[in-house]
């Protein structure tokens, strides 16, 4: 990671060591515009689903959150590189915020179909939130979900940044 304190989203992405998000885009100069478009779509999804409870995914809010929780926001940056599905990115952000993974249902048939539904549960009594995707690329997001057991029972919880080994390593 670089050491300068970031003030923009692009600087935060680079500071987090996730510059590949920008560099691997074709052309790289267009990457940030694309990322901002994606974030706008996620924000719209959030407004439609959550209304007043929608998280703020503006550039300023993300940079602010990056300073408080760099690793968690780094995980979100990685998700931005793994999917463009607004609902799935909103799901990721909601897990990072603390929503719990209540249920996952996945169906897959080779060369025929893929569908995953995730239901998030609020620890504070808010309504359950279902998230559905039929895009198999979104399956990569589940690599980030934390795994634990409590009393021998399974728990998926948390969305963590992968320790990404770069191209030059």
């Amino acid at each position: 990671m670089s050491t300068a304190s970031p003030t923009t989203l692009e600087e935060a992405i680079q500071h987090a060591g996730e510059a590949w998000l920008i560099d691997s885009f074709a052309p790289p100069e267009a990457a940030m515009d694309h990322i901002f478009q994606t974030l706008a779509a996620v924000q719209q999804e959030a407004q439609e689903r959550l209304g007043d409870r929608a998280p703020n995914l503006s550039e300023a809010a993300l940079v602010h959150e990056y300073h408080r929780n760099p690793l968690r926001v780094r995980g979100f940056f990685q998700a931005l590189g793994g999917t463009r599905t607004p609902a799935m990115l909103l799901m990721v952000w909601r897990i990072i915020q603390g929503m719990e993974v209540k249920e996952i249902q996945m169906g897959y048939q080779r060369q025929q179909s893929y569908k995953v539904q995730v239901i998030l549960e609020s620890p504070y009594g808010e309504q359950d939130e279902p998230y559905v995707s039929g895009n198999i690329q979104d399956f990569a997001l589940f690599r980030h979900i934390g795994i634990m057991e409590i009393g021998g029972a399974p728990v998926f919880d948390g969305f963590y940044a992968l320790k990404v080994r770069g191209l030059s390593s």
Partner: protein, 128 residues
Amino acid sequence: MIGGIDVRLPTMAGESSIEVAVRAVRQRWPLATFENAFTGEHYTHFWQIPFGEIQELFVYRDSQCAAKWDADGAVPEVYNTMVHLILDDDLLTVVVDERNAAMNELLAAIQSGLRDEIFYVPAELEAA
């Protein structure tokens, strides 16, 4: 916490270690509240915790227990209603009052979360 039992858990999760522990604890303490052990700042909701700035955190079973701890300290009535998490590089220390079955279950949950291979295995970044 003064006194208590230190349970030292090796971790490769780095700055995420406290978050992993909090997520494990709240599986049994869904109404948990939190306090920055350095600054005394309280957090009533998980999303308020600035994990990137936290090296030590008190996790209370609920707000009533937090108030009791604040008022009376480590009196027997509040034993095992708070855990103290201390992160030091590759070690997460969990300070508890007593090692009973319920606390051992919480500790095992934290340990299982820290063992998640996501914190051990680097992902390869492929060429675009």
